[in-house]
Symmetry: C2
Subunit: 307 residues, 2 copies
């Protein structure tokens, strides 16, 4: 591997920035990484574990002289952060973000980016339910998609250089229109997360069934939901508020569809249920074939904890 | 290990019966296993892979002389099966089932069980999204719960003997009232499955987003849903039709709750979302602490396929 950026500034030292720090160091992809986080405690932990070459106490200091600045904060904090760093950005630098929503981030960030600085929005489709400066690991992005949503006037060379970094960290990269990105992600990530949060909340409210029973007898279905519903509350609050229209559109379709199946259960229409469940099987097959998941029983965990 | 039943008849050679066959053989828990399935093709595969000591072409022959008869067919097929085997059951034998719903199975099966035969309903909380005679493996039940819902007049010794077998296959066992079982499972398994089927169906309908995009960019949320939604259509059709009331109750609560969160998104009430998501995190922690799942990033799959 060779150095792609001289100095990379990582702002917000959570799972994504932390994993980038590890991957960049492992691949020797930058001469220097500098980190900053709003929370003093996070900075302290980052220093303690040596997450970046340098952790600064001001965001201005972190971005000064950086060739690449990565905004890795919740979507709702991107605009203010962009305003704060703007005067300190180096001419010719690239600014990217890792937010799960793209149109609202572009609306909030782009107006602050000075002439001569490249803003290239991005979104790595990678994550775990863990967060914070200790959560990152170098292989998080391996074989994962990292979508870029360049603006019409984005400099092609700057986009190519950022793509090189993304690929060097092990990810696959693709380009997409911001609005289309937000709709695709509403289907594949945002709506499923809200649904999982909701189902776990229902279980929590149900007084006839104790928490202990919910926990003890949670088979594959609910257990997977609880994993999803353990994701970072601040990040997800912002995702829903900032991808409001696409998420509400998908949730509306979801509710209609759920009512159709509820009605089939109530009317005892077994054929309709059978046909529906047969169709959804095919999509799963496609995902396995696309190499996005393993076909091993219960994720290959069967022998350890079963299905 | 020592022999717990002399002759065990497994009726319906899918994932559960197949895994029982493997676990019984591995542990030397029966002197002989006999299998039967309605489908000639299933029987042929079972013979080919040597799933049981003997595969019979009639169910009467399979249960004749058996000390334990396991009904491992979809919930909706239990009643007819019980009627068919009743005249051939050995006095003193135990009949159990592995259905995911208990009250309706008891209503359908109990009236057919002859005097002197013990009927002890059961439900192993174990499974994968795979089905058929090749899907089973000996460790499926390891560390999993196997709930028994004995009837008021069930013979304590017969219940204890079945519990011994269950534990010898690696499972933990507990006893529960049938109706309470059905409510607990509606929360922890049945409603989550219907929700996952629904969400995958929504994605399939959405013409602006191609199937290819849904498949390629399915991150943790949706990908887990598709795994759940790949489960056996016949089995799940029967579960919903036979646990109708509890499932509809939970789905009703779920929809109310979802509407509350949808409204919070529409009104931009970030505090409500944040508080909700913070509460659901605690349940996940409980599940990890109860040893029902692994805390490793992305099920420990991160290095292979990421999160």
């Amino acid at each position: 591997m060779s150095v792609i950026y001289d100095r990379v500034a990582l702002i917000g030292l959570g799972l994504i920035a932390g994993s980038m720090a590890h991957a960049i160091r492992e691949g020797g992809l930058a001469r220097e990484t500098v980190g900053f986080a709003r929370s003093a405690q996070t900075r302290e932990i980052a220093r303690e574990i040596g997450l970046c070459d340098q952790i600064t106490d001001s965001v201005a200091e972190a971005v000064a002289g950086a060739d690449l600045v990565v905004l890795a904060v919740p979507v709702g904090a991107m605009g203010d952060l962009a305003a704060e760093i703007a005067p300190h950005l180096k001419p010719g630098a690239t600014v990217t973000d890792v937010g799960s929503v793209k149109q609202s981030v572009i609306d909030a960030v782009a107006p602050h980016i000075p002439e001569g600085v490249h803003f290239i929005p991005g979104h790595p489709l990678a994550g775990t339910e863990h967060s914070g400066p200790r959560a990152g690991f170098a292989s998080l992005f391996r074989n994962r998609w990292w979508l870029l949503t360049p603006l019409p006037d984005s400099d092609p060379q700057a986009v190519e250089r950022l793509s090189d970094l993304v690929r060097a960290m092990g990810a696959k990269t693709d380009r997409m229109e911001p609005a289309h990105h937000d709709l695709v992600l509403a289907v594949t990530s945002h709506a499923p997360h809200l649904i999982a949060y909701t189902m776990v909340g229902v279980a929590d409210h149900l007084r006839q069934v104790t928490d202990e029973q919910v926990i003890q007898y949670s088979a594959a279905g609910f257990r997977d939901f609880t994993r999803i519903a353990a994701s970072d509350p601040t990040m997800w609050r912002d995702v829903f508020l900032h991808n409001k229209e696409a998420t509400l559109d998908i949730l509306g379709r979801f509710t209609e569809e759920l009512f159709v199946l509820q009605r089939a259960i109530r009317m005892g229409d077994g054929q309709q249920l059978f046909d529906y469940f047969t169709r959804t099987r095919a999509i799963r097959r496609g995902i396995i074939e696309a190499g996005q998941d393993t076909d091993a029983p219960d994720f290959g965990r069967a022998a350890k904890t079963g299905g």
